[in-house]
Symmetry: C2
Subunit: 212 residues, 2 copies
């Protein structure tokens, strides 16, 4: 029988409505060490090359202890990423325009989303690369959120679901890393994506729906 833990935080999860058993002091200390060590390792080298052994060693704990909370590297990266993504999701759901729901122009809102995502990428690509190797990106809850958001912004178009995938594709962490390595600065990327937003979601005329 395996102990159930939250994939995001690594904290034990209550199977029922029962109060979660308090985390022991040494466990909490080690969890903090793991996250600090992992952040450092992801940022320093190639995130894809970081091993569970590396993290355990850097955190000064044994492999068994590490596996107790995090089943793999990706779950550690997600735990580190979680608060940042949640903050952005909150801005989108409840924040002010142009990111929040009161923004009337879908294109402007998409452009703002792009800008926020570029900012997130700029600050945390290393974590995204640690969390989302290739197709794993599409299986995360975060991708589902972004996809739903963009799909709704594209509601007036011919095929919002497919278009949402297309509009999210340029935000792939691997691409962002490569563009930055090639000397393309975040401003250029944001500007190009803004152009994409306004080209694909032209402002609705009156209350009409944009077809084709």
């Amino acid at each position: 029988m395996t102990k159930r833990t939250d994939l995001l935080t690594g904290l034990p999860v209550a199977a029922d409505g029962a109060a979660p058993p308090r985390e022991r002091a040494d466990a909490a200390r080690n969890r903090a060490r793991v996250l600090a060590a992992a952040e450092e390792l992801f940022a320093t080298g190639d995130p894809a090359e970081v091993t569970m052994e590396d993290i355990a060693k850097a955190a000064g704990i044994g492999r068994g202890t590490l596996y107790r909370r995090y089943p793999d590297r990706a779950s550690i990266a997600r735990a580190l990423l979680d608060e940042h993504e949640r903050a952005l999701q909150h801005e989108i759901l409840r924040g002010a325009p142009p990111l929040g729901p009161d923004e009337p122009d879908p294109a402007a809102r998409l452009a703002a989303f792009y800008a926020a995502m570029v900012d997130l990428l700029e600050r945390h690509v290393h974590l995204l690369l640690g969390a989302e190797t290739g197709s794993a990106r599409y299986r995360t809850g975060a991708y589902a959120f972004w996809h739903t958001h963009v799909r709704i912004l594209a509601a007036g178009t011919a095929d919002p679901t497919t278009l949402a995938d297309v509009l999210l594709a340029p935000l792939a962490p691997e691409l962002y890393r490569r563009q930055r390595d090639q000397g393309i600065d975040p401003g250029r990327i944001t500007a190009t994506l803004a152009g994409l937003a306004y080209a694909m979601l032209p402002a609705a005329v009156g209350e009409g729906v944009v077809g084709e």
Copy 2:
């Protein structure tokens, strides 16, 4: 000293202008077996899970023999993919409109390129997934070719280099596989990409250049 072999075909490469030493009969037979076995394995299961051992076993040869020609799984997938990509590249460089160089409208040419790429993906995603895990995609010669092509089509825009990356992003094999798994058919993808092409590369007015 390691024997030099062509990464694409696995054939020995002449170091100089010297005539390449003819391939021995057993070597040729085994190379054919390897390619046939690999094609089968990539198509059947998860391309990312195929190991060199699997391929060697399926081809009925030893691991050492396999490594003699192909340094890794990706090089085998690329060898299988090569002829198909070359055919498309030839169409682009020398073929008829709307794919070829005589097509006057960049948007139409980009849309045709998208259609051809979707066709390529539909027939060979499994090979692309075997060859290009994550960021490896950007290091292939093929990506460089597609990028140059699209960059030239986008020549009139504000930042053709960055835009080319953005326009190529939706063609990521991982995304294509996922969309297909979700029941999205190739036609929808092609249609959405055509919309993207015409939105981002509006037909030039007269011989003027499209700004902003």
